[in-house]
Protein backbone atom coordinates (compact mmCIF):
# COMPACT_ATOMS: atom_id res chain seq x y z
CA UNK A 1 0.00 0.00 0.00
CA UNK A 2 1.05 3.58 -0.64
CA UNK A 3 2.57 5.47 2.28
CA UNK A 4 0.68 8.44 3.63
CA UNK A 5 3.40 9.50 6.03
CA UNK A 6 7.06 8.53 6.03
CA UNK A 7 9.51 9.42 8.78
CA UNK A 8 13.23 9.19 8.16
CA UNK A 9 15.41 9.32 11.26
CA UNK A 10 13.24 11.98 12.88
CA UNK A 11 14.67 13.31 16.13
CA UNK A 12 13.63 15.97 18.59
CA UNK A 13 15.66 17.23 21.52
CA UNK A 14 14.83 19.38 24.51
CA UNK A 15 18.15 20.50 25.91
CA UNK A 16 20.04 17.34 26.78
CA UNK A 17 16.91 15.20 26.77
CA UNK A 18 15.94 13.18 23.72
CA UNK A 19 12.21 13.47 23.06
CA UNK A 20 12.20 11.59 19.75
CA UNK A 21 15.14 9.32 19.04
CA UNK A 22 15.66 9.05 15.28
CA UNK A 23 12.30 7.52 14.37
CA UNK A 24 11.93 5.85 10.97
CA UNK A 25 8.66 4.31 9.92
CA UNK A 26 5.86 4.66 7.39
CA UNK A 27 2.10 4.89 7.79
CA UNK A 28 -0.02 3.42 5.03
CA UNK A 29 -2.76 5.42 3.38
CA UNK A 30 -6.15 4.84 4.98
CA UNK A 31 -4.85 3.13 8.10
CA UNK A 32 -5.95 3.76 11.68
CA UNK A 33 -2.85 4.05 13.82
CA UNK A 34 -2.75 4.34 17.58
CA UNK A 35 0.29 5.65 19.43
CA UNK A 36 0.42 4.55 23.05
CA UNK A 37 2.99 4.51 25.79
CA UNK A 38 3.83 5.79 29.22
CA UNK A 39 3.86 9.49 30.14
CA UNK A 40 6.73 11.48 28.64
CA UNK A 41 7.33 8.77 26.04
CA UNK A 42 7.20 11.38 23.25
CA UNK A 43 3.73 10.54 21.87
CA UNK A 44 2.31 14.06 21.76
CA UNK A 45 5.58 15.46 20.43
CA UNK A 46 5.48 12.89 17.64
CA UNK A 47 1.94 14.04 16.78
CA UNK A 48 3.06 17.68 16.77
CA UNK A 49 5.95 16.86 14.46
CA UNK A 50 3.61 14.97 12.13
CA UNK A 51 1.12 17.86 12.22
CA UNK A 52 3.82 20.46 11.62
CA UNK A 53 3.34 22.49 14.81
CA UNK A 54 6.91 21.55 15.72
CA UNK A 55 9.79 20.90 13.38
CA UNK A 56 12.19 18.02 14.06
CA UNK A 57 15.76 18.83 15.07
CA UNK A 58 16.95 16.29 12.53
CA UNK A 59 15.45 13.92 10.00
CA UNK A 60 12.57 14.36 7.59
CA UNK A 61 8.81 13.89 7.64
CA UNK A 62 7.20 13.25 4.27
CA UNK A 63 3.45 13.76 3.84
CA UNK A 64 2.36 12.04 0.62
CA UNK A 65 5.97 12.28 -0.50
CA UNK A 66 6.27 16.01 0.28
CA UNK A 67 8.94 17.10 2.75
CA UNK A 68 6.86 18.79 5.46
CA UNK A 69 9.69 21.08 6.57
CA UNK A 70 10.74 22.30 3.13
CA UNK A 71 7.25 22.53 1.63
CA UNK A 72 5.18 23.14 4.73
CA UNK A 73 2.25 24.92 3.07
CA UNK A 74 1.78 22.14 0.49
CA UNK A 75 2.03 19.33 3.03
CA UNK A 76 -0.29 20.97 5.56
CA UNK A 77 -3.23 21.07 3.19
CA UNK A 78 -3.29 17.26 3.53
CA UNK A 79 -3.43 17.20 7.31
CA UNK A 80 -5.82 18.11 10.10
CA UNK A 81 -4.57 18.26 13.68
CA UNK A 82 -6.70 18.07 16.83
CA UNK A 83 -4.58 18.82 19.92
CA UNK A 84 -5.41 17.53 23.39
CA UNK A 85 -6.59 20.81 24.93
CA UNK A 86 -9.03 23.20 23.31
CA UNK A 87 -7.41 25.57 20.84
CA UNK A 88 -10.68 27.14 19.72
CA UNK A 89 -10.98 30.91 19.58
CA UNK A 90 -12.79 31.47 22.90
CA UNK A 91 -14.68 34.54 21.68
CA UNK A 92 -16.23 32.86 18.65
CA UNK A 93 -19.01 30.28 18.63
CA UNK A 94 -18.19 26.66 17.81
CA UNK A 95 -19.71 27.10 14.34
CA UNK A 96 -17.81 30.34 13.70
CA UNK A 97 -14.57 28.63 14.70
CA UNK A 98 -15.23 25.85 12.19
CA UNK A 99 -16.39 28.22 9.43
CA UNK A 100 -13.37 30.48 9.82
CA UNK A 101 -10.82 27.69 9.46
CA UNK A 102 -12.82 26.23 6.56
CA UNK A 103 -12.76 29.59 4.77
CA UNK A 104 -9.04 30.02 5.38
CA UNK A 105 -8.55 26.61 3.75
CA UNK A 106 -10.53 27.91 0.78
CA UNK A 107 -13.53 25.60 1.22
CA UNK A 108 -16.75 26.84 -0.41
CA UNK A 109 -19.45 28.14 1.97
CA UNK A 110 -21.95 25.56 0.75
CA UNK A 111 -19.49 22.74 1.45
CA UNK A 112 -18.70 24.16 4.88
CA UNK A 113 -22.41 24.28 5.72
CA UNK A 114 -23.09 20.73 4.55
CA UNK A 115 -20.03 19.30 6.30
CA UNK A 116 -20.82 21.07 9.58
CA UNK A 117 -24.36 19.69 9.43
CA UNK A 118 -23.18 16.16 8.59
CA UNK A 119 -20.42 15.87 11.19
CA UNK A 120 -22.25 17.77 13.94
CA UNK A 121 -25.19 15.42 13.48
CA UNK A 122 -22.86 12.41 13.60
CA UNK A 123 -21.30 13.72 16.81
CA UNK A 124 -24.63 14.84 18.20
CA UNK A 125 -23.86 18.46 19.06
CA UNK A 126 -25.93 20.45 16.57
CA UNK A 127 -27.65 22.29 19.43
CA UNK A 128 -24.34 23.54 20.82
CA UNK A 129 -22.94 24.93 17.57
CA UNK A 130 -24.06 28.49 18.33
CA UNK A 131 -22.50 28.48 21.82
CA UNK A 132 -19.42 30.58 22.48
CA UNK A 133 -16.35 28.34 22.69
CA UNK A 134 -15.28 29.76 26.07
CA UNK A 135 -18.51 28.65 27.77
CA UNK A 136 -19.14 25.35 26.03
CA UNK A 137 -18.33 22.01 27.69
CA UNK A 138 -14.83 20.61 27.02
CA UNK A 139 -16.40 17.52 25.40
CA UNK A 140 -18.34 19.61 22.88
CA UNK A 141 -15.26 21.76 22.29
CA UNK A 142 -13.33 18.58 21.42
CA UNK A 143 -16.08 17.54 18.99
CA UNK A 144 -15.98 21.00 17.39
CA UNK A 145 -12.19 20.69 17.05
CA UNK A 146 -12.60 17.36 15.26
CA UNK A 147 -15.20 18.83 12.89
CA UNK A 148 -13.02 21.91 12.35
CA UNK A 149 -10.16 19.68 11.23
CA UNK A 150 -12.44 17.63 8.96
CA UNK A 151 -13.92 20.71 7.30
CA UNK A 152 -11.24 20.94 4.59
CA UNK A 153 -11.47 17.19 3.97
CA UNK A 154 -7.84 16.34 4.78
CA UNK A 155 -6.52 12.92 3.82
CA UNK A 156 -4.66 12.64 7.14
CA UNK A 157 -6.26 13.29 10.52
CA UNK A 158 -3.99 13.55 13.56
CA UNK A 159 -5.72 13.51 16.95
CA UNK A 160 -4.36 13.76 20.48
CA UNK A 161 -6.85 11.81 22.66
CA UNK A 162 -9.91 11.65 20.36
CA UNK A 163 -12.45 11.22 23.15
CA UNK A 164 -10.85 13.33 25.88
CA UNK A 165 -13.43 15.09 28.11
CA UNK A 166 -16.31 13.22 26.43
CA UNK A 167 -19.02 11.18 28.13
CA UNK A 168 -19.46 7.50 27.24
CA UNK A 169 -22.07 8.10 24.56
CA UNK A 170 -20.10 10.90 22.91
CA UNK A 171 -17.01 8.70 22.97
CA UNK A 172 -18.89 5.92 21.17
CA UNK A 173 -20.25 8.34 18.56
CA UNK A 174 -16.81 9.80 17.97
CA UNK A 175 -15.33 6.35 17.46
CA UNK A 176 -18.14 5.40 15.09
CA UNK A 177 -17.28 8.44 13.00
CA UNK A 178 -13.53 7.77 13.09
CA UNK A 179 -13.97 4.11 12.16
CA UNK A 180 -16.18 5.16 9.27
CA UNK A 181 -13.56 7.66 8.10
CA UNK A 182 -10.67 5.18 8.40
CA UNK A 183 -9.90 3.64 5.03
CA UNK A 184 -10.85 6.87 3.32
CA UNK A 185 -8.48 8.88 5.55
CA UNK A 186 -5.32 8.04 7.42
CA UNK A 187 -6.03 8.53 11.12
CA UNK A 188 -3.22 8.73 13.65
CA UNK A 189 -4.10 9.21 17.28
CA UNK A 190 -2.62 9.15 20.75
CA UNK A 191 -4.71 7.62 23.49
CA UNK A 192 -4.35 6.63 27.11
CA UNK A 193 -7.67 4.78 26.88
CA UNK A 194 -6.37 1.30 26.09
CA UNK A 195 -9.81 -0.35 25.81
CA UNK A 196 -10.56 2.16 23.02
CA UNK A 197 -7.31 1.27 21.27
CA UNK A 198 -8.08 -2.45 21.61
CA UNK A 199 -11.53 -1.94 20.11
CA UNK A 200 -10.23 0.13 17.20
CA UNK A 201 -7.89 -2.82 16.57
CA UNK A 202 -5.65 -1.50 13.78
CA UNK A 203 -1.95 -0.74 13.89
CA UNK A 204 -0.54 0.16 17.29
CA UNK A 205 2.80 1.86 17.95
CA UNK A 206 4.11 1.57 21.49
CA UNK A 207 6.53 4.33 22.45
CA UNK A 208 9.04 4.44 25.26
CA UNK A 209 11.63 7.18 25.84
CA UNK A 210 11.26 8.58 22.33
CA UNK A 211 11.57 5.22 20.60
CA UNK A 212 9.04 2.85 19.12
CA UNK A 213 9.49 -0.38 21.03
CA UNK A 214 6.53 -2.28 19.58
CA UNK A 215 4.74 -1.91 16.26
CA UNK A 216 1.92 -4.04 14.91
CA UNK A 217 -1.71 -5.06 15.18
CA UNK A 218 -3.20 -5.84 18.57
CA UNK A 219 -3.06 -9.61 17.91
CA UNK A 220 0.55 -9.38 16.89
CA UNK A 221 1.50 -7.31 19.92
CA UNK A 222 -0.24 -9.74 22.21
CA UNK A 223 1.28 -12.73 20.42
CA UNK A 224 4.07 -12.94 22.94
CA UNK A 225 1.57 -12.90 25.76
CA UNK A 226 -1.19 -15.02 24.27
CA UNK A 227 -0.40 -18.02 26.42
CA UNK A 228 0.01 -15.92 29.51
CA UNK A 229 -2.79 -15.47 31.98
CA UNK A 230 -3.25 -13.13 34.85
CA UNK A 231 -4.36 -14.69 38.16
CA UNK A 232 -5.67 -13.19 41.37
CA UNK A 233 -6.39 -15.11 44.56
CA UNK A 234 -7.84 -13.29 47.54
CA UNK A 235 -7.06 -15.02 50.86
CA UNK A 236 -8.68 -14.42 54.22
CA UNK A 237 -5.16 -13.81 55.54
CA UNK A 238 -2.22 -13.70 53.15
CA UNK A 239 0.82 -13.76 55.44
CA UNK A 240 4.35 -12.93 54.25
CA UNK A 241 5.29 -16.53 54.85
CA UNK A 242 2.46 -17.79 52.64
CA UNK A 243 3.23 -15.19 49.97
CA UNK A 244 6.91 -16.22 49.88
CA UNK A 245 5.93 -19.85 49.65
CA UNK A 246 3.59 -19.23 46.70
CA UNK A 247 5.99 -16.83 45.00
CA UNK A 248 8.61 -19.57 45.10
CA UNK A 249 6.58 -21.77 42.73
CA UNK A 250 8.87 -21.81 39.70
CA UNK A 251 6.16 -21.25 37.09
CA UNK A 252 4.76 -18.17 38.84
CA UNK A 253 5.76 -14.90 37.12
CA UNK A 254 5.84 -11.44 38.71
CA UNK A 255 4.03 -12.25 41.94
CA UNK A 256 2.81 -9.26 43.95
CA UNK A 257 0.92 -8.95 47.21
CA UNK A 258 -1.77 -6.31 47.53
CA UNK A 259 -3.40 -6.61 50.95
CA UNK A 260 -4.61 -10.18 51.17
CA UNK A 261 -4.62 -10.64 47.40
CA UNK A 262 -1.94 -12.53 45.51
CA UNK A 263 -1.51 -11.26 41.97
CA UNK A 264 0.65 -13.21 39.49
CA UNK A 265 1.09 -14.29 35.88
CA UNK A 266 1.54 -17.75 34.44
CA UNK A 267 2.06 -19.23 31.00
CA UNK A 268 -0.50 -22.04 31.44
CA UNK A 269 -3.62 -22.37 33.55
CA UNK A 270 -1.90 -25.32 35.20
CA UNK A 271 0.18 -22.80 37.17
CA UNK A 272 -2.99 -21.79 38.91
CA UNK A 273 -3.58 -25.34 40.15
CA UNK A 274 0.02 -25.63 41.32
CA UNK A 275 -0.47 -22.49 43.41
CA UNK A 276 -3.77 -23.80 44.76
CA UNK A 277 -2.03 -27.01 45.66
CA UNK A 278 0.69 -25.11 47.56
CA UNK A 279 -1.95 -23.04 49.31
CA UNK A 280 -4.02 -26.05 50.35
CA UNK A 281 -5.57 -25.56 53.76
CA UNK A 282 -5.59 -21.74 53.54
CA UNK A 283 -8.96 -19.97 53.47
CA UNK A 284 -9.69 -18.19 50.21
CA UNK A 285 -12.35 -15.55 49.43
CA UNK A 286 -12.18 -14.98 45.68
CA UNK A 287 -10.43 -16.11 42.49
CA UNK A 288 -10.04 -14.60 39.02
CA UNK A 289 -8.27 -15.62 35.80
CA UNK A 290 -8.03 -13.53 32.64
CA UNK A 291 -6.07 -13.36 29.41
CA UNK A 292 -3.56 -10.55 29.09
CA UNK A 293 -4.58 -7.25 27.50
CA UNK A 294 -2.79 -4.24 26.10
CA UNK A 295 -2.71 -2.69 29.55
CA UNK A 296 -0.78 -5.66 30.90
CA UNK A 297 1.59 -5.45 27.98
CA UNK A 298 2.26 -1.81 28.76
CA UNK A 299 2.69 -2.44 32.45
CA UNK A 300 6.06 -1.01 33.28
CA UNK A 301 7.25 -4.39 34.48
CA UNK A 302 6.71 -5.90 31.04
CA UNK A 303 7.74 -2.91 29.01
CA UNK A 304 10.98 -2.93 30.93
CA UNK A 305 11.96 -6.55 30.87
CA UNK A 306 9.14 -8.63 29.38
CA UNK A 307 7.37 -11.58 30.93
CA UNK A 308 10.18 -14.05 30.60
Amino acid sequence: MEASITLKKVGKLAGDKTILAGLSFGIERGSLVAIIGENDAGKSTLLKVLAGTEIPDYGNVFIHGIDSTKRRINSQSYTGFVPFNSDLDPFLSLEENIRFIGSVHGVKDSNITSRIKKFATDLNFMDSLHKQASITSPGNAKKAMIVRELIHDPSILIIDEPTAFMDARSGRETWELLRRLAGEKTIIYVSQSLPEVEQANDRILVMQQGKIILDGTLDRLLESTLRYHQFEIEFVNLTEQLFNKLAAVTTVVNPTKIGNTLHFYGRERAVFFQVLHEAAGELMKDLSVKKLSLRDLLDSEFAGRGLD
Binding site: N85, I101, V104, R148
Partner: protein, 249 residues
Protein backbone atom coordinates in the same frame (compact mmCIF):
# COMPACT_ATOMS: atom_id res chain seq x y z
CA UNK B 1 -8.98 34.82 1.91
CA UNK B 2 -9.14 38.29 3.43
CA UNK B 3 -12.96 37.98 3.50
CA UNK B 4 -12.62 35.15 6.05
CA UNK B 5 -10.57 37.41 8.33
CA UNK B 6 -12.97 40.35 7.86
CA UNK B 7 -15.94 38.12 8.59
CA UNK B 8 -14.18 36.92 11.75
CA UNK B 9 -13.78 40.58 12.84
CA UNK B 10 -17.49 41.10 12.30
CA UNK B 11 -18.34 37.99 14.38
CA UNK B 12 -16.07 39.20 17.16
CA UNK B 13 -17.54 42.71 17.07
CA UNK B 14 -21.10 41.31 17.11
CA UNK B 15 -20.36 39.39 20.32
CA UNK B 16 -19.18 42.51 22.20
CA UNK B 17 -21.18 45.17 20.42
CA UNK B 18 -22.35 47.13 23.47
CA UNK B 19 -19.01 47.23 25.29
CA UNK B 20 -17.20 48.20 22.08
CA UNK B 21 -19.64 50.96 21.17
CA UNK B 22 -19.50 52.33 24.71
CA UNK B 23 -15.71 52.34 24.55
CA UNK B 24 -15.70 54.01 21.12
CA UNK B 25 -18.00 56.81 22.31
CA UNK B 26 -16.63 57.33 25.82
CA UNK B 27 -12.91 57.28 24.91
CA UNK B 28 -12.89 60.46 22.74
CA UNK B 29 -15.06 62.26 25.30
CA UNK B 30 -12.62 61.37 28.09
CA UNK B 31 -9.61 62.34 26.01
CA UNK B 32 -11.29 65.64 25.13
CA UNK B 33 -12.04 66.39 28.78
CA UNK B 34 -8.61 65.32 30.00
CA UNK B 35 -6.42 66.81 27.28
CA UNK B 36 -8.06 69.22 24.88
CA UNK B 37 -9.97 71.33 27.39
CA UNK B 38 -6.99 71.78 29.69
CA UNK B 39 -4.18 72.19 27.18
CA UNK B 40 -6.41 74.28 24.89
CA UNK B 41 -6.62 76.91 27.64
CA UNK B 42 -2.82 77.04 27.96
CA UNK B 43 -1.84 76.91 24.28
CA UNK B 44 -4.00 78.98 21.92
CA UNK B 45 -1.81 78.94 18.84
CA UNK B 46 1.08 76.94 17.48
CA UNK B 47 4.48 78.59 16.94
CA UNK B 48 3.56 78.94 13.25
CA UNK B 49 0.36 80.78 14.34
CA UNK B 50 -2.11 78.04 13.44
CA UNK B 51 -5.10 77.28 15.67
CA UNK B 52 -3.86 74.85 18.33
CA UNK B 53 -7.21 73.01 18.41
CA UNK B 54 -7.01 72.37 14.66
CA UNK B 55 -3.31 71.41 14.96
CA UNK B 56 -4.13 69.02 17.82
CA UNK B 57 -7.05 67.30 16.09
CA UNK B 58 -5.02 64.82 13.95
CA UNK B 59 -2.88 63.99 17.00
CA UNK B 60 -5.93 63.17 19.10
CA UNK B 61 -7.33 60.95 16.34
CA UNK B 62 -4.00 59.10 16.13
CA UNK B 63 -4.00 58.60 19.91
CA UNK B 64 -7.53 57.18 19.82
CA UNK B 65 -6.55 54.93 16.91
CA UNK B 66 -3.56 53.65 18.89
CA UNK B 67 -5.76 52.91 21.92
CA UNK B 68 -8.23 51.06 19.66
CA UNK B 69 -5.48 48.91 18.15
CA UNK B 70 -3.95 47.73 21.45
CA UNK B 71 -6.75 45.29 22.51
CA UNK B 72 -7.10 43.95 18.97
CA UNK B 73 -3.41 43.12 18.60
CA UNK B 74 -3.23 41.81 22.18
CA UNK B 75 -6.12 39.47 21.47
CA UNK B 76 -4.86 38.16 18.13
CA UNK B 77 -1.14 37.85 18.80
CA UNK B 78 -0.81 37.39 22.56
CA UNK B 79 -4.02 35.85 23.91
CA UNK B 80 -4.61 33.58 20.91
CA UNK B 81 -0.99 32.43 21.04
CA UNK B 82 -0.29 32.09 24.76
CA UNK B 83 -3.70 31.27 26.23
CA UNK B 84 -6.03 29.63 23.72
CA UNK B 85 -3.30 28.61 21.25
CA UNK B 86 -5.61 29.33 18.33
CA UNK B 87 -2.77 31.08 16.52
CA UNK B 88 -0.93 27.76 16.35
CA UNK B 89 -3.94 26.18 14.66
CA UNK B 90 -4.11 29.10 12.25
CA UNK B 91 -0.44 28.58 11.46
CA UNK B 92 -1.33 25.04 10.29
CA UNK B 93 -3.56 26.34 7.51
CA UNK B 94 -2.04 26.79 4.06
CA UNK B 95 -1.22 30.43 4.85
CA UNK B 96 2.33 31.65 4.88
CA UNK B 97 3.44 33.49 8.02
CA UNK B 98 3.55 36.79 6.12
CA UNK B 99 -0.04 36.22 4.96
CA UNK B 100 -1.13 35.34 8.47
CA UNK B 101 0.48 38.42 10.04
CA UNK B 102 -0.62 40.59 7.11
CA UNK B 103 -4.29 39.55 7.20
CA UNK B 104 -4.57 39.89 10.97
CA UNK B 105 -2.84 43.27 10.86
CA UNK B 106 -4.87 44.54 7.91
CA UNK B 107 -8.21 43.60 9.46
CA UNK B 108 -7.10 45.11 12.79
CA UNK B 109 -6.43 48.37 10.92
CA UNK B 110 -9.85 48.21 9.26
CA UNK B 111 -11.59 47.67 12.61
CA UNK B 112 -9.60 50.41 14.34
CA UNK B 113 -10.23 52.81 11.44
CA UNK B 114 -13.99 52.30 11.61
CA UNK B 115 -14.02 52.91 15.36
CA UNK B 116 -11.69 55.90 15.00
CA UNK B 117 -14.03 57.45 12.44
CA UNK B 118 -16.69 57.58 15.15
CA UNK B 119 -14.13 59.25 17.43
CA UNK B 120 -13.23 61.71 14.64
CA UNK B 121 -16.88 62.78 14.40
CA UNK B 122 -17.19 63.17 18.18
CA UNK B 123 -13.99 65.24 18.35
CA UNK B 124 -15.20 67.49 15.52
CA UNK B 125 -18.41 68.13 17.44
CA UNK B 126 -16.77 68.64 20.84
CA UNK B 127 -13.94 70.84 19.53
CA UNK B 128 -16.25 72.78 17.24
CA UNK B 129 -13.92 72.39 14.26
CA UNK B 130 -14.65 72.43 10.57
CA UNK B 131 -12.31 70.49 8.29
CA UNK B 132 -12.66 69.83 4.58
CA UNK B 133 -13.38 66.31 3.33
CA UNK B 134 -9.89 66.24 1.84
CA UNK B 135 -8.35 67.08 5.21
CA UNK B 136 -10.35 64.28 6.82
CA UNK B 137 -9.18 61.93 4.07
CA UNK B 138 -5.53 62.85 4.82
CA UNK B 139 -6.16 62.12 8.49
CA UNK B 140 -7.68 58.75 7.59
CA UNK B 141 -4.64 57.83 5.49
CA UNK B 142 -2.22 58.97 8.19
CA UNK B 143 -4.26 57.04 10.75
CA UNK B 144 -3.73 53.81 8.81
CA UNK B 145 -0.06 54.54 8.24
CA UNK B 146 0.36 55.32 11.94
CA UNK B 147 -1.64 52.19 12.79
CA UNK B 148 0.67 50.12 10.60
CA UNK B 149 3.72 51.21 12.62
CA UNK B 150 2.01 50.97 16.02
CA UNK B 151 0.46 47.57 15.21
CA UNK B 152 3.81 46.19 14.14
CA UNK B 153 5.36 47.44 17.37
CA UNK B 154 2.59 45.78 19.37
CA UNK B 155 2.88 42.54 17.37
CA UNK B 156 6.60 42.43 18.14
CA UNK B 157 5.87 42.94 21.86
CA UNK B 158 3.14 40.26 21.73
CA UNK B 159 5.44 37.74 20.09
CA UNK B 160 8.40 38.41 22.35
CA UNK B 161 6.52 38.18 25.66
CA UNK B 162 4.88 35.17 27.25
CA UNK B 163 3.64 36.76 30.47
CA UNK B 164 0.70 39.11 30.56
CA UNK B 165 2.38 41.43 33.12
CA UNK B 166 5.40 41.87 30.88
CA UNK B 167 3.18 42.48 27.87
CA UNK B 168 1.20 45.25 29.56
CA UNK B 169 4.20 46.97 31.15
CA UNK B 170 6.12 47.04 27.85
CA UNK B 171 2.97 48.12 25.97
CA UNK B 172 2.37 50.94 28.45
CA UNK B 173 5.94 52.20 27.99
CA UNK B 174 5.61 51.86 24.20
CA UNK B 175 2.30 53.75 24.28
CA UNK B 176 3.71 56.63 26.33
CA UNK B 177 6.75 56.81 24.07
CA UNK B 178 4.56 56.96 20.96
CA UNK B 179 2.32 59.67 22.45
CA UNK B 180 5.15 61.98 23.49
CA UNK B 181 7.65 61.26 20.74
CA UNK B 182 5.44 61.63 17.67
CA UNK B 183 4.42 65.29 17.94
CA UNK B 184 0.83 64.29 18.68
CA UNK B 185 0.14 66.68 21.57
CA UNK B 186 3.02 69.18 21.61
CA UNK B 187 5.25 70.63 18.93
CA UNK B 188 8.87 69.51 18.88
CA UNK B 189 9.87 73.15 19.40
CA UNK B 190 8.99 72.68 23.07
CA UNK B 191 11.58 69.89 23.36
CA UNK B 192 15.36 70.35 23.72
CA UNK B 193 16.97 70.68 20.29
CA UNK B 194 19.01 67.46 20.50
CA UNK B 195 15.99 65.38 21.49
CA UNK B 196 13.68 66.88 18.89
CA UNK B 197 16.33 66.29 16.21
CA UNK B 198 16.17 62.58 17.00
CA UNK B 199 12.41 62.37 17.46
CA UNK B 200 11.73 64.08 14.14
CA UNK B 201 13.23 61.07 12.39
CA UNK B 202 10.89 58.56 13.95
CA UNK B 203 8.41 57.10 11.44
CA UNK B 204 5.48 58.01 13.69
CA UNK B 205 6.65 61.67 13.80
CA UNK B 206 7.00 61.66 10.03
CA UNK B 207 3.37 60.58 9.69
CA UNK B 208 1.98 63.31 11.94
CA UNK B 209 4.19 65.84 10.12
CA UNK B 210 3.08 64.52 6.73
CA UNK B 211 -0.57 64.88 7.72
CA UNK B 212 -0.22 68.40 9.18
CA UNK B 213 1.91 69.48 6.21
CA UNK B 214 -0.96 68.56 3.93
CA UNK B 215 -3.69 70.13 6.10
CA UNK B 216 -1.91 73.41 6.87
CA UNK B 217 0.46 73.90 3.92
CA UNK B 218 -1.01 71.68 1.21
CA UNK B 219 2.43 70.09 0.77
CA UNK B 220 2.74 66.36 0.06
CA UNK B 221 6.07 65.24 1.49
CA UNK B 222 6.90 61.98 -0.27
CA UNK B 223 9.75 61.20 2.14
CA UNK B 224 7.45 61.49 5.16
CA UNK B 225 4.89 59.28 3.41
CA UNK B 226 7.07 56.59 1.86
CA UNK B 227 9.57 56.15 4.71
CA UNK B 228 6.98 55.09 7.34
CA UNK B 229 5.19 52.97 4.73
CA UNK B 230 8.44 51.19 3.86
CA UNK B 231 9.35 50.73 7.53
CA UNK B 232 5.86 49.37 8.22
CA UNK B 233 6.05 46.82 5.42
CA UNK B 234 9.56 45.69 6.35
CA UNK B 235 8.51 45.45 10.00
CA UNK B 236 5.53 43.27 8.99
CA UNK B 237 7.95 40.91 7.22
CA UNK B 238 10.19 40.85 10.29
CA UNK B 239 7.16 40.04 12.44
CA UNK B 240 6.30 37.15 10.12
CA UNK B 241 9.80 35.74 10.68
CA UNK B 242 9.43 36.37 14.41
CA UNK B 243 6.12 34.49 14.43
CA UNK B 244 7.76 31.55 12.68
CA UNK B 245 10.52 31.52 15.30
CA UNK B 246 8.15 31.99 18.23
CA UNK B 247 5.98 29.11 17.07
CA UNK B 248 9.17 27.08 16.40
CA UNK B 249 7.95 26.09 12.95
Amino acid sequence: MIQAFLLRRWWLFRRRIFSTLTFVVVLPILIHLALTVGIGNIIMETIAKFSYQKWLYPGLVLIVNTVMIIPIIYRDFFDLRVNSRTLITLSLTPLSKIQLVGFLLLTALVEATIFSMVAMTIFLYLMDLSLSMLDLLYILVSMNLFGLIVSNGLITISLLTDRINTFFIVTFIFFLFIIFSSELLFEFEFYPLRISAVLKNLPTSMISNWCRGLIFNGYFDWTFFLTPLGIGLVWTTINAVLLKRTLRQ
